[in-house]
Symmetry: C2
């Protein structure tokens, strides 16, 4: 789907998404301009529209990609709440552009079926991580609430970290700091 063979450009779709990630990493999603992305890819100003329809279409593709990447990262982290939580934060920091778009539904078509599917995949992976630790502890009173608490704490930490809202005293190693914060959930 994303890798049609060499046409005029070669793989414009991918190039545009990569360029978008670069721009968002530097200046946030609001700074994305289809014409700028086209310039960076060396194509005409209207080329992006063909692949994504409009700006929301491009960001929708980015969000889908992001949810899929997050699901992969969480699955790879296994079913330990601490590991899954750290993986969540790590994903947000290393794939900041994707993460920032994913949780801004007003920027893209969050109700598109591909988005729903990708998001649910990530949700399943997250719940699996939480359930693992909980089972080991002898079963929580309310698994739904525990999952929500775990998701909230890692999502909040990641968001605050990305926003640069945390005091410098927290340090410059997000994984380390996240680990300490998450541990607070079972002490």
């Amino acid at each position: 789907m994303s890798g049609t063979r060499g046409y005029h450009h070669g793989d414009l779709r991918r190039a545009l998404l990569d360029a978008a990630v670069e721009v968002i990493d530097e200046s946030g999603p609001a700074a994305v301009s289809l014409r700028d992305l086209a310039r960076r890819a060396g194509v005409s100003h209207a080329a992006p529209a063909h692949h994504f329809g409009d700006k929301a279409g491009l960001l929708t593709a980015l969000a889908v990609q992001g949810f899929e990447m997050l699901a992969d990262a969480l699955r790879e982290a296994g079913d330990d709440l601490l590991d899954a939580g750290v993986a969540y934060v790590d994903f947000a920091v290393r794939h900041r552009a994707h993460f920032e778009v994913m949780f801004r539904p007003e920027l893209y078509r969050a109700d598109a079926p591909e988005v729903r599917a990708a998001r649910e995949g990530a949700g399943d992976a997250l719940r699996a991580g939480v359930a693992g630790r909980a089972a080991r502890d002898g079963g929580p009173a309310d698994p739904g609430r525990d999952a929500l608490a775990a998701w909230s704490i890692v999502h909040g930490f990641a968001t605050l970290w990305l926003a640069g809202a945390l005091p410098t005293r927290v340090g410059d190693d997000p994984q380390r700091a996240a680990r300490a914060v998450i541990r607070r959930l079972f002490e």
Copy 2:
């Protein structure tokens, strides 16, 4: 500062900020257009520039206002972690526009002195709320980490709620759901 007496418009600065809140509530910060705000206030398209310089200036004013309102809300909630946490979420939900701008530093001049001051005021109020409960529990091992964990969990919950990312099963009462999640911190 925000209420100069009746000039041509009366109180354009306030009117523009109010209109911005309205627009952001409906369509997010990306949808804010100075010309649209001017139209809503019944003034010419360049009037906003006089009060705020540019778009970032307007959002900077909104962010300052937001941090001050948040500090007030937290102070009013007292020094109980649960109450302070619920107040944080309540603020985010009831003042969604302010909250969304506050934690998007790329949209405004986050390094402006008025912003720094307002943000620190809110930070102090937040820490005060966390410290209260901790002291009652006999003192935490690491107050800095506890504050960070508490901030993360309420900020994460609020963010996910606003993004519409939470499953419907969580319900439609953010205060109730937040209370349950926060309680997970001391059980």
